[in-house]
């Protein structure tokens, strides 16, 4: 039992030697690089997480920007459409009005022309009628005044009719 509880000199000697040697070697070759690598990796993970967060935020802001732009574009388009529609209808109505005006002017002119023509025609007709009636009257008179009796009677009558003042 004594051997279990008494540290043997040789064991202590070798244990000290191998422990110190191992500690020194491990510290140089293993723990240093391992701990550094772990720390580096943790930092890189932290960094990656941070940048991912940042990217997400940027994405979100980009999305909202996009939405806003889209909204703006849509409203611009709507406005433009509305404007052009209005313009088109205005053009049409203007054209219509102008056409109507033109037409009425045309009609007026035509009417005036007709009036003139008619007046001319009436005047011509009057002249014709007058000529015709003179002709008739002439022929009638010629017929009537063929003999001298009749001529005399007429002259008498006409003298009778005319009141001499």
């Amino acid at each position: 039992m004594g051997t279990l509880l008494t540290p043997a000199f040789g064991t202590v000697f070798w244990a000290t030697l191998s422990f110190l040697l191992a500690l020194f070697i491990l510290r140089k070759l293993a723990w240093g690089p391992i701990l550094k690598a772990l720390q580096d990796r943790e930092e890189s993970i932290q960094e990656a997480l941070r940048s991912a967060d940042k990217a997400r935020e940027e994405m979100a802001s980009l999305n909202s920007d996009n939405d806003r732009l889209l909204q703006e574009a849509r409203s611009t388009r709507d406005a433009m459409l509305k404007e052009s529609r209005e313009m088109a209808s205005k053009v049409v109505s203007d054209a219509k009005a102008k056409a109507k005006e033109e037409a009425s002017k045309e009609v007026e002119l035509a009417r005036e022309a007709i009036q003139i023509e008619r007046k001319a025609a009436i005047a011509e007709l009057k002249a014709e009628v007058a000529k015709l009636s003179i002709d008739i009257a002439e022929r009638l008179l010629c017929e009537e005044l063929k003999d001298s009796d009749k001529q005399k009677a007429l002259v008498d009558k006409l003298i009778d009719e005319s009141t001499l003042n």
């Binding site: 039992m1 051997t3 279990l4 509880l5 008494t6 540290p7 043997a8 000199f9 040789g10 064991t11 202590v12 000697f13 070798w14 244990a15 000290t16 191998s18 422990f19 040697l21 191992a22 500690l23 070697i25 491990l26 510290r27 070759l29 293993a30 723990w31 240093g32 690089p33 391992i34 701990l35 690598a37 772990l38 580096d40 990796r41 890189s44």
Partner: protein, 414 residues
């Protein structure tokens, strides 16, 4: 700071840290029970009985033979006594559990694989002696010869005759004083573990530089959680982020060494290493803890030790000796805890083996069979428990070392 420190210890000691480990163990046990338990029980029960039969018989034969031999040669009572050694304190041929267990857990000069002394197989280890004034003796432990428990060997250089006896250890014939710096089983195991650790951890460190920033795989993947555990759950929360780096190499080396040694001790058929159960090894670890905390002790630490603030002067007379005593007691307890825990685990497992021998011998074959099955069951249970203890003791040692370092380096706060 101190309250915080201790609460953090309790918090860490809280099952949280080991919860996943317990779960793993639990699932391992259930899985094992499901698949192999019955087969394993039958096979192991049979094996342990056969072992009990042959070893029991072998020993009985051996001793009776020894006894007869000495009787024949000298037929004196003295010779009879000499022929007897501590291996049979009891009746003739009786199995004595103590004599079976102690050699299995004690340090030895050879790695004993199987069989008994005459027809067994064991690997000899180098014996190194330094005799004052005469020089070094170097020979293999297989040089020791003798018919009984007492074996002798002659040093090739100094001519000193070394006598090895199970009770008194190694002495020289002429009573000359010498230093025994032999590579014992535990020393050999420790060197083996340290070499293994250097190789494994070096390859781990290489894998980081080979694949920087990549996820770990293979061996690195296995070892990394342990490194992270020591750093994140022991060193950093207890010592503090800035001071932890200074002590981490020591804490990591200690943790890995204890875990690896404990696990090596659980592997059967390779000589039953009990490195962390050897007091010569743990005393070195404990002294290293004492040395580091003493060297790193700051003004605050020494002040609290020799002139505790806020304590009446008369009480100081009482407190200071206790504190100073405690300074030495802490590493001593650290040493004893580790040694005792690891040795106890081995003793329990060996006791279950012994039960098979005893039952077979005292109550007959059937009882031996029954005990074989029963012992196997309990040994399986103990193996899993020891697996847990292997990690737990490494954890406790490292944790307490970290606490002592934290105590030595903490800043004044009153």
């Amino acid at each position: 700071m101190k309250e915080k420190l201790y609460s953090s210890i309790f918090y860490t000691l809280n099952i949280r840290t080991f919860a996943s480990f317990f779960e793993q163990i639990h699932s391992m046990i259930t899985e094992f029970a499901k698949r192999f338990a019955i087969t394993a029980l039958i096979i192991l029960g049979g094996v342990s009985f056969v072992v009990a039969q042959t070893e029991g018989h072998g020993e009985v034969d051996d001793h009776t033979h020894d006894a007869h031999g000495t009787h024949d040669a000298h037929s004196t009572h003295d010779a009879h006594d000499e022929g007897h050694n501590s291996l049979d304190d009891g009746e003739h041929g009786d199995f004595v559990a103590k004599d079976f267990i102690i050699p299995h857990i004690a340090d030895a000069n050879e790695i004993h694989f199987f069989g008994d002394h005459h027809n067994g197989f064991s690997l000899p280890l180098p014996m190194i002696f330094y005799v004052e004034g005469k020089g070094l003796d170097l020979f293999m432990s297989s040089e020791f010869h003798g018919s009984h428990a007492t074996v002798t060997a002659t040093g090739p250089n100094t001519g000193t005759v070394y006598i090895k006896h199970p009770d008194t250890g190694i002495t020289s014939e002429g009573g000359e004083s010498f230093y025994d710096i032999s590579i014992t089983k535990s020393v050999f195991g420790m060197m083996f573990i340290m070499t293994l650790l250097v190789i494994m951890l070096r390859s781990m460190a290489r894998s980081y530089s080979k694949h920087p920033g990549k996820a770990p795989k293979g061996l690195t993947n296995v070892l990394e959680p342990l490194v992270l555990f020591v750093r994140n759950d022991i060193a950093v929360p207890i010592i503090g982020k800035h001071k932890a780096g200074k002590f981490l190499p020591f804490l990591l080396t200690t943790f890995f060494f204890i875990v690896a040694s404990n696990l090596l001790g659980l592997i059967p058929f390779i000589g039953g290493f009990n490195i962390t159960g050897t007091i010569g090894v743990t005393v070195v670890l404990a002294f290293a803890v004492f040395f580091i905390s003493t060297v790193n002790g700051n003004k605050n630490y020494w002040g609290h030790l020799f002139w505790p603030p806020g304590v009446p002067n008369l009480v100081k007379l009482l407190v200071v000796p206790i504190e100073v005593f405690g300074m030495f007691l802490k590493p001593t307890v650290l040493m004893i805890r580790l040694t005792a825990n690891m040795t106890a685990g081995h003793i329990i497992i060996l006791s279950f083996v012994s039960l098979v021998f005893i039952f077979n011998q005292n109550y007959g074959e059937i009882a031996g069979y029954g005990m074989g099955v029963f012992s196997t069951l309990f040994m399986i249970f103990m193996y899993f428990l020891e697996l847990l203890v292997a990690f737990l003791q490494a954890y406790v040692f490292t944790l307490l070392a970290a606490i002592y370092f934290a105590d030595a380096t903490q800043e004044a706060h009153h």
